[in-house]
Amino acid sequence: MSESFWDWAYVWQVLPELVDASVVTVKATVSGFALALIIGLAFAIARMIGPGWLRQTTIGIVEVIRSTPLLIQLFLLYYVMPEFGLTLDAMTAGVLALGLHYGAYCSEVYRAGLEGVPKGQWEAAVALNLPPWVTMKRIILPQAIPPAVPALGNYLVALFKETPLLSVIAVLELMQTAKLLGSESFRYIEPITLVGLFFLFFSLVAAALVRALERRLGRGSGRVAR
């Protein structure tokens, strides 16, 4: 094998394995982000209408999560939790860490959305005797979430680009696979470049999806005037 800068034969050889790994990356992204959306919403709602102690606790948790690196949280979940009897497989720990970390960020986005709903909407709901949960689900969230979609979409892309961190706990996602391939063949340039291209491709796809969603939400209802 000549020592050329770029070896196409090697590219074709590693491609299938990287495609498989990209599935793992996409899975981790989708599950992690789904979890982040749910956790973020729960945090935001708890913080807005929960009883005092819950509000304070939530604020504290969000602050701690946002002020510490994802890498540390990943290590804690994967290496330290077993000491307390909670053993997670690498993928689960990875998804959980991504979900918690980005959930904390998403909660801030939701919060801005929730606070953007005029007080009069809550008051009208009380005057109509709607139960609090119905008010949240039917009146407040439908107005709070559409404006939050662009910022949430940014976090989707950000989370996706941070999935290579999962390689440190040996999840066989793109980065980890590329590193293994490289260490076997002593050629890193092709696998790493391919991984970069994968990320570029999926980021563009995700961004396009988010934009399409924004357009769909912006259209239709008379949300323009308050």
């Binding site: 009069g120 109509l128 139960p131 209802s221 008379g222």
Partner: protein, 254 residues
């Protein structure tokens, strides 16, 4: 029907309602007037249970609203009690507060479905009747943003009537409207008062309407009723010096 029994409401050191006593008979139409900051909105908000009062008790229909009976005494109402009592009261706001993501019809259906638990078809029909009553049968599928202010306020009135309240509260419901749109909203309120057994409290700056429509006028000043009386009498021969000055100022303003 409604009894404010020595009701006090404070914001920090500011006393907004100062031991207010007010009794309103069933079916009575009461207009509340007074200078800005005198506590008019607060009275309605307290009755709608949007604000907690600090002292006193509000009674509705012979039952405590802000409190509930416990043994011989009264304790603060819990959520369940408030929900039960609130169903007797409807409120229309200055800025309509329609749900912008729902059509006029859906705005009126929401409480029917979610509070009364009516089947959707029945709710749709009843909401349609309510909109027809306020003259908006042809607008039921419009979103609020596509309605004029007057039309939005009429939808809000229809929506507030959905649960068949016995008491309706109106807080400056025409203040956000252009003069030519006021008339259609006042017309709806007039018709409501004529055709239904409703106790009404309205905060208003429309002295002409108050005089002609209300049974009684209450003039608020600094969280108390400074003067009250039958509408004609009140406007024709105000007694208090403060009342006279206020009325003169309002008349001069237009």
């Amino acid at each position: 029907m409604v009894h404010f029994d020595h009701v006090t409401k404070r914001y920090g050191s500011l006393t907004v309602l100062d031991g207010l006593d007010l009794r309103i008979a069933p079916n009575e139409k009461v207009a509340i007037i007074g200078p800005s900051g005198s506590g008019k909105t607060t009275v309605l908000r307290a009755l709608m249970t949007l604000d907690r009062i600090d002292d006193g008790v509000i009674w509705v229909d012979g039952e405590p609203l802000t409190h509930m009976r416990r043994g011989d005494g009264l304790v603060r109402a819990d959520g369940k009690h408030l929900r039960r009592m609130r169903s007797k009261i409807g409120m229309v706001f200055q800025h309509f507060n329609l749900f912008p993501h729902m059509t006029a019809l859906k705005n009126c259906m929401e409480a029917l479905v979610r509070v009364l638990g009516l089947p959707v078809e029945e709710a749709r029909q009843r909401a349609g009747e309510l909109l027809a009553m306020v003259g908006l049968a042809d607008k039921q599928d419009e979103y609020p943003a596509r309605l004029s202010g007057g039309q939005q306020q009429r939808v809000a009135i229809a929506r507030a009537l959905a649960l068949r309240p016995k008491i309706m509260l109106f807080d400056e419901v025409t203040s956000a409207l252009d003069p030519e749109l006021c008339a259609e909203v006042l017309g709806v309120i007039r018709e409501l008062g004529r055709a239904h057994q409703l106790t009404m409290l309205m905060v208003t700056h429309q002295m002409g309407f108050a005089r002609e429509f209300a049974d009684r006028v209450c003039f608020f000043d600094s969280g108390r009723i400074a003067e009250q009386g039958p509408a004609r009498e009140f406007f024709d021969a105000p007694r208090g010096e403060r009342t006279q000055r206020f009325l003169r100022a309002v008349m001069d303003a237009g």
